[in-house]
Symmetry: C2
Subunit: 252 residues, 2 copies
């Protein structure tokens, strides 16, 4: 609602040199991303890349038997469609909107053209891709070794970092799909968090009351990824007036 998103709300776009921005921004197209929208399916040839401003998109892997698992989350710190510049043009995963909002999108061709100038865009994309790699690796390990309780905390923090405020709109069923666990498992874990006074849950609305505690209860995976992402994409300090200080509040 309210103010129209600007391209600079996406951290990658914002980090580009002015001249690159000037070239690119003309071709950007603002697209609303409603909850549940699928940006691409597993194996689809990618026509566009998306730079979220305030939406969150999950990279979800769906298996033959229908079971699924999230392998990565992308918000305004990143982009969807790295496969375009990596050369594969498609990936075996699905990109689905997890939290409604907007994204700027760019034609694959135009994106590639800019990358092929071998300037800052290329290097930014490379570093972002490494951050993505880190997130996936950590997800793999987390899936192996950590309890649902811990993973829920991690997941909430990941989402929180990509949203303004302390509210999420998210049913337990959806979270379960992302984590690749049962819905009841999420109910259980969320119930514990609520009893501890860390969150408030009600019919698809979550309010985080005690973020520090959430970080304590989470597994190390959250902090590791955050630290590494910070290191790789050490953006300029958050612009004045921006409440999206996702890369500035690592405690511990």
């Amino acid at each position: 609602m309210s103010a129209m998103p600007t391209p600079q709300q996406n951290h990658l776009l914002a980090a580009l040199p002015v001249e690159v921005q000037q070239r690119l921004f003309l071709n950007l197209e603002l697209i609303p991303l409603p909850l549940g929208k699928i940006l691409y399916e597993s194996g689809d040839a990618l026509r566009h890349v998306y730079f979220p401003t305030d939406a969150i998109v999950s990279l979800l892997y769906v298996m033959e038997n229908g079971a699924s698992a999230e392998i990565s989350v992308v918000g305004n710190e990143g982009l969807i469609g790295v496969a375009v510049f990596m050369g594969g043009e498609s990936t075996p995963s699905r990109a689905v909107v997890q939290s409604a909002g907007y994204a700027y999108r760019l034609l694959g061709k135009q994106f590639k053209a800019e990358v092929n100038r071998h300037g800052e865009m290329l290097h930014l994309m490379l570093r972002y891709t490494q951050a993505l790699l880190t997130q996936m690796a950590q997800t793999a390990v987390c899936n192996r070794h950590h309890s649902i309780d811990q993973q829920l905390c991690r997941w909430l923090l990941l989402s929180l970092d990509r949203l303004p405020g302390d509210q999420l709109t998210m049913t337990q069923e959806l979270i379960a799909n992302m984590l690749g666990v049962r819905r009841e498992g999420v109910t259980d874990a969320a119930g514990k968090l609520q009893k501890l006074g860390v969150i408030e849950y009600s019919r698809g609305h979550i309010k985080v009351l005690d973020r520090p505690r959430l970080e304590q209860l989470s597994c190390e995976c959250y902090a590791v990824v955050k630290k590494e992402t910070d290191r790789l994409l050490h953006y300029m300090p958050a612009r004045p007036g921006s409440q999206f200080s996702q890369f500035s509040q690592l405690s511990r």
Copy 2:
């Protein structure tokens, strides 16, 4: 043993244009990789990249509590050290030799210099990185949803693909570390496979007797990664009229 490995045994090196090979091969250094050797630790600044000829290297993630999990396997189809050209210079994982052999290594600086020519080397590396990404994503999903039995099959196949012959030298303890499970779990799963006549196991020596059966018993993850890796790295030259024709734009 005996014959000295050639750089061309590594698929990536072999896939490079002759002129690039001529530039690079002078700087390659043949390095023996004994079992268990650690090429780099989590967080280490990477001095070299390694192109295995006949060794297998695991990217292993070790957690705070000591638990571990393999996030990727690299043999003669790839290289160790993508972080060098991605810009991060380090990763939060450990690279450890899982099967002894040789690798050619190259100074990070020289590797970067070649990549920075923005020629075939860059594009090859990008496609390889996407293959790596795919492997990690699949590992994450596999860790979530598949049984130890299935994962063992997958793991054996991955190793087999990177070795000549049908023999592996690998204790169950080591496999357990890679899969991030108990040693007893591996004993169990391997016992079943042996009863089925699929493998022969004896004190760190595995002989695969029935590979087709192994593929049947494995989860889909093996086939998915293999197919995608093939797509990304084998069928590189864009054929006219193929859906990868946009590809040539990047590859030139």
